[in-house]
Amino acid sequence: MTSFVRRYGTLVALLVIIIAFSIASPIAFGTPNNLINITQQMTLLAIVAIGATLVMAVGEFDLSTAAVVSFGGIFVVFLLKAGVPAPLACLAVLAAAGVFGAVSGFIVARFEVLSFITTLAVGTIIGGITFWLSDGATLFGDIPVGFRDLARGKISGIPTLTFWLIGVAVVAWVVLDKVEIGRRLYAIGGNREAARLAGVRIVSNTMVAFIGSAMLSALVGMLLTARIGSANPTGGGGFLLSAYAAVFLGMTAFREGEANVPGTLVGAAIIAVVGNGLTILGVSTFMQDIITGMIILAAVLVRRTGTQSR
């Protein structure tokens, strides 16, 4: 029983929240259309959170996430304005983000600097670059329709963004759960010294996790820009805490205390559903934050007490 609560409690909580909102607002919330729409609303947060999941798998933190989201949005518009073709611009943004991730990962693994400090510093640098690229202003215009379509519209009734979510989630899930690199990342996260002594290469594998996280954050920056049609140098600022909240919620699901992709999706879904449902019910934004925070605490506490009663 306790084992079931520990593994599936968070998923059950999500379902309970959905059912509760559906009863409270059957016409607006509990419609297939709205539920599909929630998948679109949670996409950006979920992709950032999946990036955070990779880094959490090796037992580290990436505080530069929000800065990379902002950077991705600004840099892509900057390149588009400079006349770079959209596909090339996107690749350049991902490559630049990859470099940032590689630097963080290398410093963390090779010199064993706390990832908190490293990514805080790298994030600050990226923030500075972003402001420098944009002169501190919101960038608008010169965004081709093809680029905007990356995050707008629907394909056979399903929002384009939802496909991004599914794609990224599947790839990340395969990487972490199905191929060898995932075993290595989790081994490092589980016990770095034991993994090292068993022949796992710490530096290169840690770098992979940080590179993945940075590239996903930059992807979100670009999707955000495509979605709203402009880029703001602080546009990603809101993602950091919610993304880690999603990961932590997810760590209470399916696996015992380990960051995992399905769990992160559940975590992101809880945050998105609560926001969507409470707005529909006309609850103020402040109250939404209070409720989201309480859900995270509740989830973690349920798991804790579950573990202790073992």
Partner: protein, 305 residues
Amino acid sequence: MTNLKLSLTALTLLASTSLPALATDVNVVTPYMSSIPTNDMVQAFKAEGEALGWDVTVIDTRNDFGQLASRMEDTVNAGADAIVLVSTSAELVADQVAMAAEAGIPVVSLDGVKAENVAVNVTSNNFDLGVQLSEALFTALSGKGNIVKFFHSAHPGVHQRELGLDATLENYPDINVIAEHFVQVPGPVDDGRVAMENILRQYGDEIDGVWAAFDDPGIGAELAFESEAPDSDAIIMGIDGNEQAVDMIASCTHYALTLRQDFPGMAKIGVEQLEKILNGESPDSDEIFVPAVPITADSLGVSCE
């Protein structure tokens, strides 16, 4: 030896007294450089000021008010000739403004509010803007209908607009605020979009108008209408004259009007007033209002019929 010391001291004294006289150091401090209007205003101020031979330094604290206070202190300690606070309330950094006053450094506020120790606040009256926007929206709705309100009371100017709305609502008993949303910053556009999508779920066609305290959430609302309720008759009105909003108005979307504050005008008046102060005169008044310009399809020369 003594001679050398003397002449060195003299040189230092000379340098310290004469350097500021060569160029007037004006420090522009703002937490909101990433917002387009603030940016416009700062750039205009910089251009106008530099034309007068001032040395204009811009300091942006990126939405961080703690830093705003610190940078103000740095500026005062560095002995600037004048401080220009942009898009923020001087009351938030009252101690630092007092510090500046004590050091004899004049503080001019652009797009802020009137406050103690601030020589002059040049702004469009945000309360009036709120009234102007509300009147325009309610008139377009013929004085009757349901509106959604996007607000952000953490920004003093934007909060004044909200008060303007409240005041106007008293004269229009048939206008109903059926939903409201506190816009999250950073990321106001996407936040406005998600909120509008959710509000549309609940109220759909009941919504007749969207009142956006600034254009960013209005743009988000327009994006939500485009994907969720393209056929709705609702209209959106906002404030700031944001480029993307103007683009939407020109494309005959739900976005019907944005009030553009005359930021270059404000910057210009700010420079004129500061020049007077630096010349030892008093400013014209402690608060100067610059009227806003409505931008609509008509004013843009587009026909949407």
